[in-house]
Amino acid sequence: MHSQTATRQRTTLVFLLAGLGIVLLALLSTCMGSVRLPVDAVIKTLTGSDAVEPVMRQIIIDFRLPRILTALLAGAALGTAGLLMQTVFRNPLADPFVLGVNSGASLGVAVVLLALAPAGISLTAGLGAKGQLLVILASSAGAAATLFVVLILSRRVDIMSVLIIGLMISYAIGAIVSILMFFSMAERLQSFINWSFGDYGNVSWSHLRFFAPAILGGLVLSSLFIKPLDALLLGEQYAESVGTRTKQARFLVLLAASLLAGAVTGFCGPIGFLGIAAPHLSRYLCRTSSHRILIPSSILIGALLSLASDFVARGPGLDVVLPLNAITALVGAPVIIAALVKQRNLKRLFG
């Protein structure tokens, strides 16, 4: 009884601190970026006052706010997608990257940016403001296709082999992408390489109209599976014995995961490590394996890590934006290592 109260208090504390961190970082990110803006200009803009220089106002409203929102949504999505995959595959290493989702998405984007170009460019131009959607659609389709190939194969082998299959598929897809890159010219290559660095700054308000509902939809879908997820963690047989329709649950959960990871990859590029770091940090901080707590905490911690990475990548004071992907790895890797070393027996949490 005592430990349950302790866990609850702990969880409340974690949620409060993460929420506070997010709010602080969001404010900091609004003020500081490659251009430092005075705090009063930011406050005036946010409160809707007109007494701000129009250029500054536009920088805040059209560049910084969508970027911060994107960082929050992407972090929440990747954290949750990672958690879902780790549970379904009952493997602490599972994340969008390891399971080939990222490489599937990058194949989709490579096909659009490299193979279809220049036809692809005129195609997207013809679609007008929704042009970017082709890239996003291709990315999500690539992500979903890969994940489902892994899923289908996973029925024939034990769950450990699934990870290896995911890695093998990643390698094979990576090879196709290299061949596409080999045959493309510098300009297209540059677009693709920059996409692969990851960036939240490319998502504008008009993109958010699609991005936000996709992510929120994925998050809502995930939260419907709290009980089946808890049951799945204890093994398929157990899950079925308590009345979970495992096949259907697994399918829907992975659908949600690929929607989340695919949308983020399409809009922002392949963002590594958040998907694996956020759930591990959540487990470590909340000391629980219950998805009722893990889903919201992965959302919060994912958003926090994502925002922090973006803040560092913008290198306040620098003119340039560092590759976001490099920063998430630099932030994410130590977090995972620290969490694993402290937690020592991870196996317990995975049955």
Partner: protein, 368 residues
């Protein structure tokens, strides 16, 4: 023997200061031609950023015996008849010199815009020697060219592979792209002409270019009210705006434009965050060279926020894409290099419509 060689080099170096050049080079800084009677020595410096190496080429007429030459020099027998153009820019010089027929092979064939050369590629008289990013060394050896002209960037991943150098083919490096002055870049026609012994023709052509360029330039000199100019577009969020000391910056200046990054002293591009560019250039009068976008529609599709820039609102976005071929080649990087006066006229026409009212845009187009 070594002493003898050293003595020879000393003579060679001192010879550099004798006024014996067959082509007077006035603008280009990265090459030099010295005439020794029996042969000419061509030297190329600054082949890529921070390069300290000087490349020597001995141009020996086919009718002459091979004289004693420094070991470091690559020997080219002139006039050359079988040329491999590893970049499309050489096609512009060759066209101006009426030597297109000498091209037997080319790399990056999709990016060629000259219709005659494209036809040669289609008919098989011009061999493509590059598949993807890889160069077909064996085919090059079979073709036995007497000149393979290329350039390097200093990045081992993209530059001529060591195995190509090992073939002993007559490889010549040019550094025209490192010149920041449009006239200097055009003057490399003299460099290319030397291999064909067409120096006289090149001098004539270049004198014409220089005269026309200067004439246009004097017209913008008096102007005090210079419009501000933004240049470039981002690749996935990162703008590489041309530095203040770049070719593009120079062209904008000569056309009577006020380039927003003219204070900067970089020769290449400066990578900048979109916010940073927006802060400086939101109110610019003109926006030129927005990457490969050919319509406002395409530009907005890439990023709807481009609409917030004043030139986009006012319909003053121009790109140098008027002569882009379906496969992506752009004549401005081919013929345009030998016609900086026409490019300049385009820009003057854009920035100062009343100065050249009769002029019709050659390389630029207004994005609709």
């Amino acid at each position: 023997m070594r002493l003898l060689l050293l003595a020879y080099f000393t003579i060679l170096l001192s010879a550099a200061f004798l006024p014996a050049s067959s082509s007077e080079v006035r603008h280009a800084r990265n090459f030099e031609i010295i005439d020794y009677g029996t042969h000419r020595m061509l030297s190329v410096s600054n082949a890529f950023r921070d390069s300290t190496q000087i490349h020597h080429y001995a141009l020996v007429p086919k009718r002459n015996e091979l004289p004693e030459l420094p070991e470091a020099a690559t020997v080219i027998r002139t006039p050359v008849e079988r040329v491999v153009a590893m970049e499309t820019v050489y096609i512009g010089y060759l066209e101006a010199l009426a030597q297109l027929d000498t091209i037997i092979a080319a790399a990056t064939v999709d990016y060629i815009s000259n219709p005659k050369v494209r036809q040669g590629v289609a008919e098989g008289t011009i061999q493509p020697v590059q598949v993807g990013q890889a160069i077909d060394v064996e085919k090059l050896l079979l073709l036995q060219p007497d000149l393979l002209i290329t350039s390097v960037s200093g990045d081992a991943a993209f530059d001529i592979p060591a195995k190509l150098e090992r073939t002993g083919l007559p490889i010549v490096l040019s550094a025209g792209y490192m010149e920041q002055d449009p006239l200097a870049r055009a003057e490399w026609i003299k460099f290319v002409a030397a291999f064909f012994e067409e120096d006289e023709l090149a001098n004539q052509i270049f004198d014409g270019i220089e005269k026309r360029y200067r004439k246009l330039e004097t017209r913008t000199k008096q102007i005090e009210d210079k419009p501000t100019v933004l240049c470039g577009a981002p690749y996935s969020g990162v703008w590489h705006v041309p530095g203040g000391d770049s070719y593009t910056a120079r062209m904008i200046f000569d056309a009577g434009g006020d380039y927003l990054w003219s204070e900067d002293s970089t020769q290449g591009g400066i990578p900048l965050d979109t916010e940073r560019v927006f802060l400086k250039a939101a109110g610019a009068d003109y926006w030129i060279n927005p990457s490969f976008y050919r319509s406002m529609h395409a530009l907005y599709a890439a990023d709807a926020r481009f609409a917030k820039f004043a030139p986009a609102k006012n319909g003053q976005v121009y790109n140098n894409t008027r002569q882009v071929s379906p496969s992506g080649g752009n004549a401005i990087w081919e013929r345009g290099i030998t016609q900086p006066d026409k490019v300049l006229a385009d820009l003057i026409h854009i920035f100062h419509p009343d100065l050249l009212p009769e002029h019709e845009l050659v390389y630029y187009e207004l994005l609709q």
